[in-house]
Amino acid sequence: MREAWLPLAVLLALGLAPLAGFGGSYETTLMARAMILAIAAVSLAFLVGGAGLVSLGHAATVGVGAYAVAILDAHGVTEAARVLPVAIGAAALFSLATGAIAIRTSGVHFIMITLAFGQMAFFTASSLAAYGGDDGYTLYSRTEVLGTRLLEDRLAFHYLCLGLLALTWAASAMLLASRFGRVLRAARENAQRVEAVGLAPYPFRLTGYVIAGAIGGLAGFLLANATEFVSPATLSWQRSGELLFMVILGGVGRLWGAILGALVFVVLETWLAQQMQHWKLVFGPMLILAVLFLRGGLAGVVARRHG
């Protein structure tokens, strides 16, 4: 954990940013987006790096969480004490149902079946005509916290996202270090040996998958509130690909790599989009180059420097 100074410094910088002149609407919106995606990316890094489960459908859990907010909003339920548990619970339930089947497969088949479940969620969202269908759904207002409009406050929302990001990272790291996490990591390295020791990997993997999904739901709850808008695009497989990219860019071996990856991703994407209309012409090759040459990701580079 000696190299963990970097993510701590990043979190600290995010904490100080609004006080250091970056408290405007534009900056906080951008930072909130980065932090929320970082939460989703950390949960995916927990799956990919920790359990060795490469999911190409993780955006679906974020989408389920976001749609829970939208659907409750449409029915007049805007109290966080009710919305948040539903958002997280729905995402966890979605992960439980899809994971129960997906985890029976492995390798390429797992990637493909998670992609397939992600597509199912996408098409379901597109067909919800009562909640905007293809066009998406605009929230009437942000979710209320105990009857107050706390989340409307820019700073409060900023620090909420930051706190939840730190919490997600700490909880995921502790979970991976626990006995439960040890079994997960062992099953990633060699499932047969884990079985030989007398443990079945399946329930451990499924539990890990559900936990990651629940965190994805939390990210979805925040994302819906940050943009006050939910659309099927949140669940598209391209979003899942981007989340995977954040994890890889940061470095698969370390959870905090995902935080770096998400921040760099959002900054890069925003900056490139300002520079040119066809920014993906540059972004695509950058992604390829990062995969080819940046082995171990940004975290790997940092670790080697301090190795």
Binding site: V48, V54, L56, I101, R104, T105, G107, V108, H109, I111, M112, I113, L115, A116, F117, Q119, M120, F123, T124, S126, S127, L128, A129, W237, Q238, G241, L244, F245, I248, V252, H278, W279, K280, L281, F283, G284, P285, M286, L287, I288, V291, L292
Partner: protein, 307 residues
């Protein structure tokens, strides 16, 4: 739902299946021989369609366009193989997924720059205009019949190539056990480049054929790609026969589902709800089929690799 409509939809389904087979054939061989996930294979299909449209506009003849687009698609495939894919064979699936995802971003944006974001229309060749009577009083477009015939002819040719020639024998052997084939003195790298280029051309061919039926637009390859993945996973990775059966299955299920589901739902729901639920269910149907098949046969319908 009359018998006539059902017949037309079944033909449309078969025709979608044939196009899917042309895309999936290359994908499954590349996957089977080199264990390489190529998300960018759908891009080959899109490139084929765009090249076909561009050459058709330039020469004024669909046939010239077909003749020119095939080698151009082949060249594009070879270029991508040399520039990007070749460096990924030894890497894990995660890296392959991401780098080829980068290729998708680049090419999707690239066609927007070159040809614009608006869909292109490709006229049906004069020779194949009009319809033929498949049942008394029922016309079916001649071009679609031609696509069906061309696809079946290609499938037969491919079957002959894979099952009856020396090159095909090597490909099959490579899909079963690549290291063994390599140990027996076959240049597996060259074999793969060959398979890859051929697969790219087949996908391009499907794209050219699809031009006059569907609109040619950026991102048109993404949906086809995901359906093609469903096809090869259902069929069993590396199996041409499996890809053929699964492609027809997926094409039929998708097309018939989309036309039948809303009517089926009307038995249980009121019309507007039925239309909505039916459309959602229909889009999901192929993924449900895939999940169900994988749950019972994790290696697909025609598994190739043993052990």
């Amino acid at each position: 739902m009359t018998t006539q409509l059902l017949l037309v939809q079944a033909l449309n389904g078969l025709q979608l299946g044939i196009l899917l087979f042309l895309v999936a054939a290359g994908l499954t061989l590349v996957f089977g021989v080199m264990d390489f996930i190529n998300l960018a294979h759908g891009v080959q299909y899109m490139l084929g369609a765009y090249l076909g449209a561009a050459f058709a506009a330039a020469t004024g003849s669909f046939w010239w366009a077909l003749l020119l687009a095939l080698p151009a698609a082949l060249a594009a495939g070879l270029l991508l193989e040399v520039l990007v894919f070749r460096h990924l064979y030894a890497r894990d699936h995660l890296s392959q997924v991401l780098a080829t995802f980068g290729v998708i971003l680049f090419v999707n944006e690239g066609v927007k720059v070159v040809w614009g974001a608006a869909p292109l229309q490709v006229p049906v060749p004069a020779l194949l205009e009009g319809g033929i009577e498949i049942m008394p009083g029922l016309q079916y477009p001649l071009y679609r019949v031609a696509v069906l015939a061309a696809g079946i002819a290609t499938a037969l040719g491919l079957w002959w190539l894979v099952e009856r020639t020396r090159a095909g024998m090597l490909v099959r052997a490579g899909a079963t056990n690549a290291p063994m084939v390599s140990a027996l003195g076959v240049d597996i790298g060259r074999l793969f480049t060959l398979v890859f280029a051929f697969g790219a051309m087949l996908a391009g061919f499907a794209g050219v054929l699809a031009g006059p039926i569907f609109s040619v637009e950026p991102g048109m390859g993404d949906n086809v790609l995901i359906l093609a993945f469903v096809v090869i996973v259902i069929g069993g990775i590396g199996s041409i026969r499996g890809a053929f059966v699964a492609a027809l299955l997926v094409g039929l299920v998708d097309t018939l589902g989309k036309s039948l589901m809303p009517d089926l739902m009307r038995l249980f729901l009121d019309p507007s709800a039925a239309r909505q639920a039916g459309a959602a269910l229909a889009s999901m149907l192929v993924y449900v089929a895939m999940a169900a098949i994988l749950a019972f046969r994790p290696a697909g319908l025609f598994p190739v690799r043993t052990g």
